[in-house]
């Protein structure tokens, strides 16, 4: 609405592929169309995002999926009151190992490509051999303790019989420093969002061995975090932002726009990397080793399959993993608070008026869809899945207590 007062929104983000929905909302006019003057501020740590949200510099931010849950459980060093009314896509991460570790894996049998099952078996054998011969275990980096990267990596390792606490070391390294850390031998592998895996391959520092989409297809990654105070005081501004981001996600999901999106993200104020390392992840064509390219189904899904819907079952799965690894304690009150960190009600209220297909449920059984299926939605046209875990386990949020109890640490 030209001429009307604009909502001024300042949002923080980190230079990652999945900042795309925020970047496009600003650059392609989706924010402006909803009367939002969207300022994006690039940050260099999740701690800064958290602190600047806590003091009110940002009303919203690109945030790791488990962070709002950690905040609602009082686990952040600085008190942070946020809600997550939208997800910023599904997937987008990969696991990369050093050339040296890749060579060891290769000695252990046929090339496994990006196969999560085959490669974790081989990694387990290499880890056992390594630990029999060396004092220091192999070390893997993630970007933050409360990150999908950390929980995906741990899930994958543990399912393959590797104890992430005992058999390897998990450390935190900022995404832009991952390739260097791999090259210098400080770490042996990492789980990070794109384009940092593709960059490590391009620099000859590493080999991608599996993807988030292979470990858990259509799985949650980043969310839009909104200050709880702002969400309560300015519901119409929040709804306008969600509509703008929904349109933006739709644009990002259209393959015709991927080249333009790669050019946009490549700009130095956004991701600041060559478009040639950004494009493969958007197209799901990963160069995983030297000149080997693999087509990865659903590598990064910005829009389809309700990719922006903040499923409370995703929040609860993150919580189950926080309990599993001793990052949070188990209690029924925390289950409730973890679920409430994600706000499908706000999403539905903002998006449904667009006539879009919005899930009717707030949670679903994760890992149950082997093939794409029609799901209950506002207009019946929504298709979800497949969404399987690589080890065929299923997470039923109604049975979270059993799931948590049965998890092997």
């Amino acid at each position: 609405m030209p001429g009307a007062d604009l909502y001024e929104i300042r949002a923080g983000f980190l230079p990652l592929l999945d900042s795309a929905i925020l970047v496009v909302a600003r650059e392609k006019g989706f924010a402006k169309a909803e009367a939002i003057d969207l300022t994006l501020i690039r940050e260099n740590s999740w701690a800064n995002i958290r602190d600047r949200m806590a003091v009110g510099h940002f009303q919203m931010a690109h945030m790791l999926g488990p962070m709002p849950i950690a905040a609602c459980l009082g686990l952040t060093p600085l008190q942070l009151d946020v809600v997550a009314p939208m997800a910023l896509g599904l997937g987008g991460n990969a696991v990369t190992v050093s050339r040296r570790l890749a060579d060891e894996l290769a000695q252990d049998g046929d090339p496994g490509g990006l196969d999560a099952t085959m490669n974790i078996k081989r990694l387990a054998r290499v880890v056992r051999r390594h630990n029999a011969e060396h004092e220091l275990p192999l070390s893997f980096a993630v970007v933050h303790p409360f990150s999908a990267h950390n929980y995906d990596l741990r899930y994958w390792l543990a399912a393959g019989g590797i104890d992430p606490e005992q058999d390897v070391r998990i450390v935190v390294v900022p995404p832009p420093l991952m390739a260097d850390a791999l090259n210098s031998g400080q770490i042996d592998g990492f789980c990070v969002g794109e384009p940092w895996n593709s960059l490590a391959v391009k620099l000859g520092a590493g080999v991608i061995v599996t993807t988030k989409s292979a470990i858990w297809r259509s799985s949650p990654e980043k969310v839009l975090a909104v200050s709880a105070t702002f969400a309560a005081d300015q519901p119409s501004a929040v709804a306008a932002v969600l509509r703008a981001l929904y349109r933006s996600a739709e644009w990002c999901g259209n393959p015709e726009n991927h080249e333009e999106l790669a050019v946009l993200l490549a700009r130095k104020e956004y991701v600041g990397q060559d478009q040639a390392v950004i494009l493969p992840a958007l197209q799901g064509k990963l160069r995983y080793q030297d000149d080997e390219v693999a087509t990865v189904q659903d590598f990064f899904v910005p829009f389809d399959k309700a990719a922006t819907f903040p499923w409370q079952s995703h929040a609860l799965w993150f919580y189950s993993q926080m309990v599993r690894w001793g990052h949070a304690v188990w209690d029924p009150d925390s289950v409730e608070r973890a679920a409430q960190a994600y706000r499908p009600d706000l999403y539905r209220a903002a998006i449904a008026p667009l006539g879009a297909a919005v899930p009717a449920a707030n949670a679903k059984v994760e890992g149950a869809l082997k093939t794409p299926m029609h799901a209950g939605s506002s207009d019946g046209s929504l298709i979800l899945g497949p969404d399987g875990f690589f080890d065929d386990r299923v997470f039923d949020p109604e049975q979270i207590e059993t799931y948590v109890r049965e998890q092997q640490v």
């Binding site: 701690a47 009110g56 303790p145 990052h327």
Partner: protein
């Protein structure tokens, strides 16, 4: 009441700023100050130093790494929490505004460490101010040189004196509602294009 000296670790990639902080801490009577520029092997350093307080700049991308160590690592023996008391919103805001963050060993009393944070905030702000002033001085010098070059071009091509050249530049700037240095820049650029030898 007599307290043991607090041990302070300053992590800052900017060595000048780190030295300014260190000087401030020493002036305030803190003698156990360690500066670290490179965060490689920081877990080991923290394990060895057992600092009571850690000060780090917000530009440092390794804050997430540092915090993860406090939360989860077995290398750091003593629990370390965010420096500022959760209720002290004003201090938190001042610190984030200044671009500094600090962490403290859990259980250390607020008033013992508040002066350290206040000092870090004021030194960070002083450093930013100094940088801005330095930038302004550099710009001013560059602008003055540019105007001198533009005057030289006018004097040579139009055969006029220095005062007249200056007046001409000033008048053009006023007429076009632009800064004197912008007019000078345009003239120098145009002159270079027309006559690369000049």
């Amino acid at each position: 009441m007599c307290h043991a000296q607090l041990s302070v670790l300053v992590i800052d990639e900017n060595q000048i700023r780190a030295s300014i902080i260190e000087a401030g801490l020493r002036d305030a009577g803190h003698d156990q100050v360690t500066l670290v520029k490179d965060v490689n092997g920081i877990a080991q350093r923290i394990g060895d130093l057992e600092p009571d307080v850690i000060v780090i700049d917000l530009e440092n991308p390794n804050r997430d790494m540092l915090e993860s160590m406090f939360q989860l690592s077995r290398a750091v023996k003593r629990p370390i929490a965010m420096f500022v008391d959760r209720s002290d919103q004003a201090s938190i805001e001042a610190a984030v505004e200044a671009g500094v963050s600090a962490y403290v060993v859990d259980g250390l009393r607020q008033e013992r460490v508040k002066s350290i944070l206040d000092m870090a905030i004021s030194r960070f702000n002083a450093f930013s101010r100094m940088e801005r002033e330095l930038d302004a001085a550099r710009n001013e010098l560059a602008e003055r040189k540019l105007i001198e070059r533009a005057k030289g071009i006018l004097m040579r091509t139009k055969g006029i004196g220095e005062d007249e050249a200056h007046a001409l530049l000033r008048k053009t700037a006023m007429n076009q509602n632009r800064r004197l240095s912008e007019i000078a820049q345009s003239l120098v650029t145009a002159s270079c294009l027309l006559d690369p030898e000049s």
